[in-house]
């Protein structure tokens, strides 16, 4: 028995015995992948539900219909043709008179103050705009919808619980009674909150808008992109295609990799020291923000760009050089177009990071309270993530929904930016 030579097993049989194990490993690996993605999706959905659930109400605004008499003596307008007088007129007095007229039974200073808080101070802007549009209204009684005060807004949106005892809620029974009376008369309504999408920041939550921050972010990112893309792509091309490979370029490479890992707040401090203190550029300006974010995104773009250039097959370079193309012609005609999708991917990553960056902007003063929508890269401005930070930090209840709404706007901004980049990348994509 032992002398007999055992027949060698056929390789096919050996392979088959191990096959079950291999298949199991494969299945397991796929399962892990699916599990990981499912988990990520669940968190994403939770995030969206929570943000949208909290934030969607900010896109609606409670408005109250008022009958206001634009009495010249109250407004203190002597000459209705004088725009300056119309601009500076005392619309608060008109609004107060209108409220007193709507609720004639109210007396006493404290009660009256509560009554005046029914409508937002933004109502004055509505009145002013109305009179500016049509000066002939002076002296007449007009009916108009004005934004409600933040507390009323919060009650109507259900953010303040009416069933709580009066001592535990911000809104008094008296205010609720006024509100219900207006509601009964059909003079209170939820309307789409255009002001949130088109206005600048404000101290009062019901008047605060996101547009100022959107424009600030847009200007900042425009500066960042215009500077970092050409600089980053050029640096990547030079280092990868032209620079001699020696110790100096090695050191540069190591340092670029290190810079990509430097905390962004350090870039903010650098920007403060260099751009503002030495170059004397204006504080809080999108220009400085863009410069700082450029410093921050450059390493990302350079690293991604070099990787993209490296992945272009050397045979393409040889082919171009072989027919006598100069190194620059080789790069611009053949290598760069092939590397472009990769470079653009690097830029998307860099820009997405820049869009969400808050810390360096705090350092250069883009955290200031700015009401006006910036008109250029030298105007004081803030940015979306900074606005979110500011609102999240505010004690007023009305800012909570605005914080979530601002996050929604930021996400939309991010999505449209990425969509644009993907479209761009598609146009450059080529196979080889």
């Amino acid at each position: 028995m032992s002398n007999q030579t055992l027949p060698l097993p056929r390789p096919v049989d050996v392979i088959n015995t191990g096959l079950g194990r291999r298949r199991a490993a494969e299945r397991r690996f796929r399962l892990y992948g699916v599990a990981a993605i499912t988990l990520a999706l669940i968190f994403l959905v939770l995030l969206f539900i929570s943000i949208i659930g909290k934030g969607y109400t900010a896109f609606w605004q409670t408005q109250i219909q008022m009958e206001a008499t634009l009495a010249p003596e109250l407004l203190d307008i002597a000459d209705p043709a004088d725009r300056n007088q119309v601009m500076a007129a005392n619309y608060g007095a008109v609004m107060k008179a209108a409220l007193r007229q709507a609720f004639p039974e109210v007396s006493g200073r404290a009660e009256q103050r509560q009554l005046f808080a029914l409508v937002s101070s933004g109502a004055e802007d509505v009145l002013r705009q109305r009179l500016l549009d049509d000066p002939s209204l002076l002296g007449q009684t007009v009916s108009l919808w004005v934004p409600a005060g933040s507390d009323i807004d919060m009650v109507r949106k259900g953010h303040i619980d009416r069933s709580l005892p009066e001592s535990e809620r911000r809104v008094s029974d008296q205010e609720l009674a006024w509100m219900d009376e207006l509601a009964q008369q059909g003079r209170i309504e939820q309307r789409f909150n255009w002001n949130f999408l088109t206005g600048g920041d404000s101290r009062s939550p019901e008047q605060a808008g996101i547009w100022g921050a959107v424009v600030g972010s847009f200007l900042t990112l425009a500066v960042t992109m215009l500077l970092s893309f050409p600089l980053g792509a050029a640096a990547a091309v030079y280092l990868e295609e032209f620079a001699p490979k020696n110790r100096l370029t090695d050191i540069i490479e190591v340092n670029i990799n290190n810079l990509a890992a430097v905390p962004s707040i350090v870039f903010g401090l650098l920007g403060l020291a260099v751009f503002i203190n030495i170059f004397g550029l204006p504080r809080s300006a999108p220009l400085v923000g863009g410069l700082v974010l450029t410093l921050m995104t450059l390493p990302t773009i350079i690293i991604a760009g070099r990787a993209a250039l490296k992945s272009v097959p050397p045979s393409i370079r040889e082919a171009a050089l072989g027919v006598g193309a100069s190194p620059l012609q080789t790069v611009t005609n053949h290598v760069l177009p092939l590397a472009m999708p990769g470079i653009l991917t690097g830029m998307i990553i860099g820009m997405a990071r820049a869009l969400g960056e808050t810390a360096p902007l705090l350092m250069i003063g883009m955290v200031a309270f700015i009401v006006d929508v910036p008109k250029g890269i030298f105007d004081p401005a803030t940015a979306l993530p900074v606005q979110i930070y500011l609102w999240a930090d505010s004690p007023e209840l009305g800012f909570a929904e605005r914080t979530s709404a601002a996050i929604m706007v930021l996400l939309v901004f991010l999505l449209s930016m990425n969509a644009l980049a993907v479209i761009l990348r598609r146009r450059f994509e080529r196979r080889w």
Binding site: K245, P313, P314, S315, I316, R317, E318, A319, A320, L321, G322, V323, G324, A325, S326, Q329, N333, H334, L338, R430, R431, W432
Partner: protein, 296 residues
């Protein structure tokens, strides 16, 4: 169409003076296997290219050892030898393509029409237009077929107008035997062609800049016999004006197209001489081993 193919093959056959037949060669070589000095006539009377003491190093590894070799006018020089012996490396010296490889160093003089093209101050851009190259692996640009061929003439300003470029593209593709297959899809990517078609596209791209010397690194290794015959015909036609160096693993091909043949072995130029003599009566034992199939 059918008849023209047959004619092509016919012509190709006629240029064969003797397809070396392994085994029936008598062992007549006299130079021993250990000898590394070049046997045979490395020099010609009126050379187009003259190489003096060429050494090539990849880092510290020497890939070409002290090679002296001439390429004559209107001559096809075939380079044969086992894989890895340095044929491509030597070929790439002749248009300075080795410059593009990090750590590659070429010493010695390469005189093209009496001008040392291995000198530092030589501008490689016009040189590479003058000395064109077809690479071992087909490497079309991932652009349209038209763009592939038109690129060279355009960057060198050889054609002024689109119409002139069209002409150059058509004539180049015709000479490379590709025109009939691609004339309806010149705007389609060159990378979408078959391997053999790609190689012919690369040949068309090279001849479109009208080089005076053409280096071909195994141009037919991916081609069928009919395309091969066309390329060999083209080589014969180009030879009337220019010089051609061709690396090939097919000894039949070397015998068919070349006037002189050089045999490389591990970086040494072992033997060079008349193609007929090399294949019928090699002097070096290593050459004999190789062409009789005892090596490689």
């Amino acid at each position: 169409m059918e008849t023209s193919m047959n004619e092509t093959q016919q012509q190709a056959k006629e240029t064969v003076f003797r397809a070396p037949d392994r085994g029936d060669l008598q062992a007549t070589a006299t130079v021993d296997r250990e000898v590394r000095r070049t046997v045979g006539e490395a020099r010609v009377a009126d050379p187009r290219i003259r190489c003096n003491d060429i050494n090539v190093y990849y880092g510290t590894a020497q890939a070409i050892k002290n090679v002296n070799l001439d390429v004559g006018r209107n001559e096809v020089l075939a380079m044969i030898g086992p894989s890895g012996c340095g044929k491509s490396t030597f070929l790439r010296c002749l248009n300075r393509m080795n410059d593009t490889i990090d750590g590659c160093r070429v010493t010695g003089d390469i005189l093209l029409d009496e001008r040392n093209i291995n000198a530092k101050e030589i501008d490689v851009v016009p040189l590479r237009a003058q000395v064109g190259m077809v690479f071992q692996k087909p490497n079309p640009f991932p652009k349209s077929i038209w763009e592939n061929v038109a690129f060279g003439p355009r960057i060198h300003g050889l054609a002024r107008s689109r119409a002139q470029l069209d002409e150059v593209v058509e004539s180049s593709l015709r000479r490379a035997g590709l025109w009939d297959e691609v004339k309806d899809r010149l705007d389609k990517p060159g990378t979408g062609l078959s391997g053999g078609q790609q190689q012919r596209l690369c040949i068309a791209r090279t001849i479109a800049v009208q080089p005076e010397v053409i280096l071909m690194d195994e141009p037919c290794s991916a081609l069928d016999p009919i395309s091969t015959a066309k390329i060999e015909e083209l080589i014969d036609e180009l030879r009337q004006q220019f010089s051609i160096c061709i690396v090939t693993h097919s000894m039949q091909q070397a015998a068919r197209v070349s006037q002189r043949t050089a045999y490389f072995h591990l970086g040494d130029l072992i033997e060079v001489g008349n193609t007929e003599q090399i294949f019928t009566n090699p002097n070096h034992k290593l050459t004999e081993d190789y062409i009789t199939g005892r090596f490689g």
